[in-house]
């Protein structure tokens, strides 16, 4: 489902160029507007679609499972901390909207201050474990760690 750009909406701000993990969103050399230089390499991650401040980027679904004429559009509202989707079927019978939180804390307020952490000791450097990796995500000599053996349980829903 490669992305494409509505040229009349794009103002060439560069947000999609900056965010694309595949580095395939670039600026057209003639019109100075963004475009997908290699649709085959698009991961459909929607990063550019969500980052575009003008909703100038859309995604074209492959015809085998998303017949032409459908619409999947998204609005990522950073100030509200939500993401909203609207999905329309080609025949118009299904037209649904979804709204979900993408953060529960102001952006940048919960970044781990790793510089304030104590430096790892030599024993920690020589272990196969990652720095500060919780023990319950690793294998040990005795048995496979489980949520139960660590007194944890899975909660339903999204928690931060």
């Amino acid at each position: 489902m490669p992305t494409f750009v509505y040229m009349t909406r794009c103002d060439g701000c560069g947000q999609c160029v900056d965010i694309c993990p595949s580095d395939i969103m670039h600026i057209d050399k003639t019109l100075r507007r963004a475009y997908n230089i290699e649709p085959n390499m698009c991961w459909e991650c929607y990063s550019c679609v969500k980052a575009c401040p003008h909703h100038a980027i859309d995604v074209r679904g492959y015809a085998d499972f998303a017949p032409l004429g459908h619409s999947v559009r998204v609005h990522r509202d950073e100030e509200k901390g939500t993401i909203a989707w609207r999905i329309k079927f080609r025949n118009g019978k299904k037209d649904m909207e979804l709204l979900a939180p993408i953060t529960t804390k102001p952006w940048g307020s919960c970044i781990p201050q790793l510089a304030n952490e104590a430096a790892p000791a030599d024993s920690m450097r020589n272990t196969e474990l990652l720095y500060n990796e919780p023990k319950y995500v690793a294998m040990n000599d005795n048995a496979l760690m489980t949520l139960e053996s660590n007194g944890l349980e899975i909660k339903e829903g999204v928690y931060y």
């Binding site: 009349t8 909406r9 103002d11 060439g12 701000c13 560069g14 947000q15 160029v17 900056d18 965010i19 670039h26 600026i27 057209d28 050399k29 003639t30 019109l31 100075r32 980052a51 401040p53 003008h54 909703h55 619409s71 559009r73 998204v74 609005h75 950073e78 100030e79 509200k80 901390g81 939500t82 909203a84 989707w85 609207r86 329309k88 909207e97 979804l98 709204l99 979900a100 939180p101 953060t103 529960t104 804390k105 102001p106 952006w107 940048g108 829903g157 999204v158 928690y159 931060y160």
Partner: protein
């Protein structure tokens, strides 16, 4: 320098009639270039087809009066104050360039056509101020804000076809100012060789001609299609079709919270403003 009419000195070389003909020719070139551009890119056809498509998805009819109001809002926001730019630096640079260009072109035409409404000194001042605004806004854009430099990592001196417009615009303003400065120095005796003045006048005319004659290949036509696109966007928002985008939800509204229970569960009844997100950093991580 700022109060001297730069076109005075060349009237001995080029008659006023020729200058007026040149201005008319440039206006004709812009009009013809825009029409050709519209035909070639089928932009007008696209706009009408898109408008019809949006009308099919409309949830309500927008009255003529409401459309007039939307047109006024588009002129006030997108056209006159470049409100569409989310980057404030880019908006300021665009405003400087746009108003500089308008002041520069209008004062040039008024001087050449011998307008009596304004004093020549006032027009000469406007001409210089326009050129300066154009140069400041344009060079700021060229060296720092331009997306190729800012997000693509392209060097400022690497030219592309998209640069025809901005380069010819910048050269027009730069050569105009240098030409005026050399004339001023020439009259005060500091520059004895008037050949330089003529040379920079020739550069000014060449860059001007490139600017106005390349509408078909440059992005000059954006001044026509961008307001049309902005108006269409407002109409689509007003008629509910909204380009199939999801609605704008008020998170503290009980209806919204009842419809999307995840919101009050994870964000509380009155979610706070989460700030700028990815906009906290400039888009230049190339």
């Amino acid at each position: 320098m700022f109060t001297t009419n730069p076109f005075d000195a060349i009237t001995s070389l080029i008659s006023t009639d020729v200058m007026q003909m040149y201005v008319i020719l440039m206006a004709v070139l812009v009009a013809a270039g825009t029409i050709l551009d519209m035909m070639h890119k089928k932009s007008a056809k696209y706009f009408f087809e898109n408008a019809q498509k949006a009308q099919k998805n409309a949830k309500r009819t927008v009255s003529t009066g409401e459309k007039a109001g939307l047109a006024v809002a588009t002129i006030a926001n997108e056209v006159l104050t470049s409100g569409e730019f989310s980057n404030p630096k880019r908006r300021l640079s665009h405003l400087l360039t746009m108003y500089g260009f308008i002041i520069f072109v209008a004062s040039s035409a008024l001087i050449i056509f011998g307008c009596d409404t304004f004093a020549t000194t006032t027009l000469a001042q406007a001409w210089h101020i326009g050129a300066l605004m154009l140069a400041i806004g344009g060079y700021w854009f060229w060296f720092f804000i331009r997306v190729d430099v800012n997000s693509e990592g392209v060097k400022w001196y690497q030219l592309r076809r998209a640069d025809i417009f901005i380069v010819s615009l910048l050269l027009t303003a730069t050569f105009a100012l240098i030409w005026s400065y050399l004339q001023h120095k020439g009259t005060t005796g500091a520059v004895a060789d008037m050949g330089w003045t003529t040379l920079f006048f020739a550069f000014f005319i060449i860059s001007n001609t490139v600017l106005f004659s390349t509408v078909m290949w440059s992005k000059f036509a954006h001044m026509f299609f961008k307001p049309a696109a902005a108006f269409q966007k407002r109409v689509a928002h007003a008629d509910g079709s909204n380009e199939n985008l999801p609605g704008d939800f008020d998170l503290s509204s009980p209806e919204v919270q009842a419809r999307f229970p995840d919101i009050p569960e994870y964000m509380g009844k009155n979610p706070e403003n989460m700030g700028a997100g990815i906009r906290r950093e400039a888009a230049n991580h190339y």
